[in-house]
């Protein structure tokens, strides 16, 4: 949550810099964004590859463990499909792309902004932050009403890090491994799935 706040501060700082034209118009950070995005993707991979738990998890895997992230993808697509019926301003592809951040707002919002413009980028940023916040707030309730896997499902890509403590508090530490696994798969899916959709 602390990191989310710091990230929001940077976003708002940029927002004000843009609002009050603090930078010359020629400087949009456009080219830079792409290179920093490359760096970020490499570093995300580095973190995943170096993580001691990753290998252990992959060894202990039976195929059914994939059902949790798979159900998150299918559920997100169905939920956003329903939403697209009510919103004529967004195409189905745009709704799916926003949903496919699975809560991983920093990466998804930048990729979406680069591919589909600022408006959808903002929606992606807000939407995926909201997903994280909803999970943090509702994890105990979700667990009681919809079962032990519900908070993991709601957390999407965040269930491996930012929402993990709250999830394990609500459903028990024995679900930590599956929570990390599901979050990991969804995190890795984000940069694949969004360009495929848009």
């Amino acid at each position: 949550m602390k990191n989310t706040l710091i990230i929001l501060v940077f976003f708002v700082a940029g927002l004000f810099a843009g609002l009050f034209s603090l930078f010359p118009e020629s400087f949009t950070g456009e080219q830079m964004t792409i290179y920093v995005l490359y760096l970020l993707l490499f570093l995300v991979g580095l973190g995943v590859g170096a993580n001691q738990h990753t290998l252990k998890l992959l060894r202990s895997v039976n195929l059914r463990i994939f059902l949790v992230p798979l159900s998150v993808v299918i559920g997100t697509f169905l939920g956003t499909l329903v939403y697209s019926f009510f919103d004529d301003g967004l195409t189905l592809r745009e709704c799916w792309a926003v949903g496919s951040g699975f809560g991983y707002y920093s990466l998804s919002s930048v990729i979406i902004k680069e591919m589909a413009g600022e408006s959808l980028g903002v929606i992606a940023l807000l939407s995926n932050i909201i997903r994280e916040i909803l999970t943090l707030l509702l994890a105990p309730v979700l667990s009681r009403v919809f079962g032990r896997y519900a908070p993991i499902s709601a957390g999407g890509a965040t269930s491996m890090d930012t929402t993990l403590p709250m999830i394990t508090r609500s459903v028990g530490t024995e679900y930590a491994a599956i929570s990390v696994f599901s979050g990991l798969i969804l995190t890795l899916l984000v940069p694949f799935i969004i360009p495929l959709i848009l």
Binding site: F10, G14, L19, V48, A50, G75, G79, F86, S119, P195
Partner: protein, 117 residues
């Protein structure tokens, strides 16, 4: 009620066309390749703890920078700024349905495949 708010003529699709993608799918392929290279590099360097810790600090730095630039381009875009409330409402409703959909499908899968555990 939502329908009328969301039906606003300044909908997103139009923006997407105007600010057509500067990042082509091809560019994203490079990004994905770097992600994969990163995973293998991370695996090879997994015992160099200091280096990995440094990498994770750079990760935070990169995210901060990207979000600053995202804010910058959003703030410079008058059309987006004036529609911020509407974008927020769209984001909220979309997310509620996306999250609910996830939970329900997970519950359904659990009943089908996990019950015997």
């Amino acid at each position: 009620m939502f329908k009328t708010i969301l039906n606003n003529k300044t909908g997103i699709s139009r923006f997407s066309i105007i600010f057509a993608s500067t990042l082509k799918t091809g560019t994203m392929i490079i990004g994905i390749a770097l992600l994969v290279v990163g995973i293998f590099t991370g695996y090879l360097l997994r015992n160099r703890k200091k280096l990995i810790a440094l990498g994770s600090r750079f990760t935070d730095g990169a995210i901060f920078m990207l979000l600053f630039f995202l804010g910058l381009s959003v703030g410079s875009n008058q059309a987006v700024v004036s529609n911020f409330n509407q974008l927020g409402l769209q984001a909220f409703l979309l997310t509620v349905l996306a999250t609910l959909g996830s939970i329900l499908v997970t519950q359904w899968f659990y009943r089908m495949f996990f019950k015997d555990q």
